[in-house]
């Protein structure tokens, strides 16, 4: 999380060994991405902010298979995992399409499928939903949410509602880590939000403006509103 130019994408590149730090050290799963890039890269998958030039193969299915090919996965397993990954990003039927005929959001889905097929231990997602429509975003977020149980997901986003489920939120501004909080605390901290050009999503913002404390879902909010009304009027609710 953090403003444009805050250094989020730079952090992702550092974690993957694409950039070498001038000072300090990077460790991913105990390996230094600069000295042991392959050890790190076979455990991590990156979804770049702009997927346009990250697609390697002339057909969608071959591109999704690229990461698996590099890891030496046997062909039969590759077929299965490629088909599953393509389905899970909602691109069934696109197997033989050529990347240059796809829209931005479709390319982003192909790149994500390439990552999901590999299922690395660590997923570095740089704004994975920036080009997706609302239903596409929900599907992808659900799929990512399912992975969080068994994998480490670093999810860069400008949408605060996408990180309500996160374990930790890191706020990066001016190339520095300015805060590490849990999502509920971040929503409540108006000064921190303001400082980092963040706008809380509608439901928590409404709850805060009404002085109802922290609410995540519309149901929470509705409950809180009802409780307030009930306390205020003394009337009975069925």
């Amino acid at each position: 999380m953090g403003p444009n130019g805050g250094g989020k994408s730079t952090l992702v590149r550092l974690l993957n060994g694409l950039l070498v730090p001038d000072s300090g050290e990077v460790a991913v799963a105990g390996h230094d991405p600069v000295t042991e890039p392959f050890e790190v890269r076979k455990r991590t998958g990156v979804l770049f902010q702009n997927p346009e030039n990250g697609l390697v193969a002339p057909f969608v299915e071959d591109d999704v298979a690229f990461g698996l090919e590099n890891l030496g996965v046997p062909r039969e397993e590759m077929r299965r995992r490629v088909a599953e990954a393509i389905r899970s990003v909602g691109l069934s039927g696109y197997e033989r399409r050529e990347p240059h005929t796809l829209s931005g959001g479709e390319k982003q889905r192909v790149a994500l499928a390439g990552l999901l097929a590999v299922e690395p231990e660590v997923l570095l997602l740089d704004e994975p939903t920036s080009m997706l429509d609302a239903p596409g975003r929900r599907e992808v977020l659900r799929r990512i949410g399912g992975l969080r149980r068994s994998k480490t997901v670093l999810h860069v986003t400008h949408h605060l509602e996408e990180l309500l489920e996160a374990d930790r939120v890191l706020v990066i501004n001016g190339g520095r880590l300015v805060a590490e909080v849990e999502p509920g605390r971040l929503m409540a901290d108006a000064a921190l939000l303001e400082e980092n050009r963040l706008v809380p999503p509608t439901v928590p913002r409404l709850a805060a403006d009404l002085g109802l404390g922290s609410c995540r879902t519309p149901e929470d909010l509705a409950g809180a509103v009802l409780r307030r009304v009930w306390e205020g009027s003394g009337a009975e609710i069925r």
Partner: protein, 265 residues
């Protein structure tokens, strides 16, 4: 648009034919055999026999003859030119006819006919290969056939990878060139008028951003490939499967017999 039929994906003609179904390696070897064989054929009758066999194959491939002829058109000029060259400069044998300072000798005519037929048949065989083989299978086939040379540090995998990436990015760059041309035209650039030199000069403002853009793409592509664990051909498996079956071996034998027949005639 049918898969693979897009611009820039080469001369592949998607169809459901026995030639399309063959293993690309069998087809590449067959063309190689034909190329070698054609250099040994030494009579017009032999060339015509090979030509007839190729015509049959075109029929089998279900590539419409008009489409196939279009694939040959670019070389027609070269063929005509080299043939004329032979006629004009070979001075052996008796004079068949003369035109002002030119004299056509019998040997020159014979060489010209041989050369023209040889080049045409070579190109026709290659065109049949590219028309019936999807480019990606072609690059897989080339990688496989060249892989014994890896022992001598021959970059077989790298060559195939380059072909794959070219296939992926040629349409993208083509589109980008079109966009730049339209953007420049919208600002008053003129690509359609003036002499050759003026037109070439008008293209400079197109080529510069196109080249810069291609380098940027290459950078991003390299980053993405590395981050996806690419380390060259070592320890890599392949998603696409090529399988050399009985029918491929049979087809290869038949293909070898074609030029042999031509040599004997």
């Amino acid at each position: 648009m049918a898969p693979g039929a897009g611009r820039g994906t080469g001369q592949f003609y998607p169809a459901d034919s026995p030639l399309h179904a063959l293993d690309p390696r069998a087809k590449i070897l067959a063309v190689a055999a034909l190329v070698v064989g054609l250099f040994l054929v030494d009579s017009v009758a032999g060339f015509l026999a090979v030509g007839a066999a190729l015509l049959c194959l075109v029929q089998v491939s279900r590539v419409p003859p008009s489409t196939f002829l279009r694939l040959l058109r670019p070389v027609a000029v070269i063929v005509a030119f080299t043939a004329l060259f032979q006629v004009a400069f070979v001075r052996e044998g008796e004079v068949v006819f003369g035109l002002w300072v030119f004299q056509a000798h019998s040997e020159g005519l014979r060489l010209a006919a041989h050369l023209a037929l040889r080049i045409l048949l070579l190109v026709a065989a290659a065109a049949l290969l590219t028309a019936t083989t999807p480019p990606l299978s072609l690059s897989d086939g080339i990688e496989d056939l060249l892989s014994p040379l890896k022992r001598f540090r021959f970059p077989a995998h790298e060559i195939a990878m380059m072909m794959t990436i070219a296939l992926r990015f040629i349409p993208t760059l083509h589109e980008e060139a079109r966009k730049i041309i339209m953007a420049q035209a919208a600002r008053g650039a003129d690509f359609t008028e003036g002499g050759l030199i003026q037109r070439v000069r008008a293209l400079v403002p197109v080529l510069v951003p196109l080249t810069v853009g291609a380098f940027r793409r290459a950078d991003e592509l390299a980053e993405a490939m590395e981050s996806r664990g690419y380390r060259g051909g070592e320890g890599r498996t392949r998603y696409r499967e090529l399988s050399f079956r009985g029918r491929d071996a049979t087809a290869l034998c038949i293909a070898v017999l074609i030029p042999v027949g031509g040599i004997l005639l």
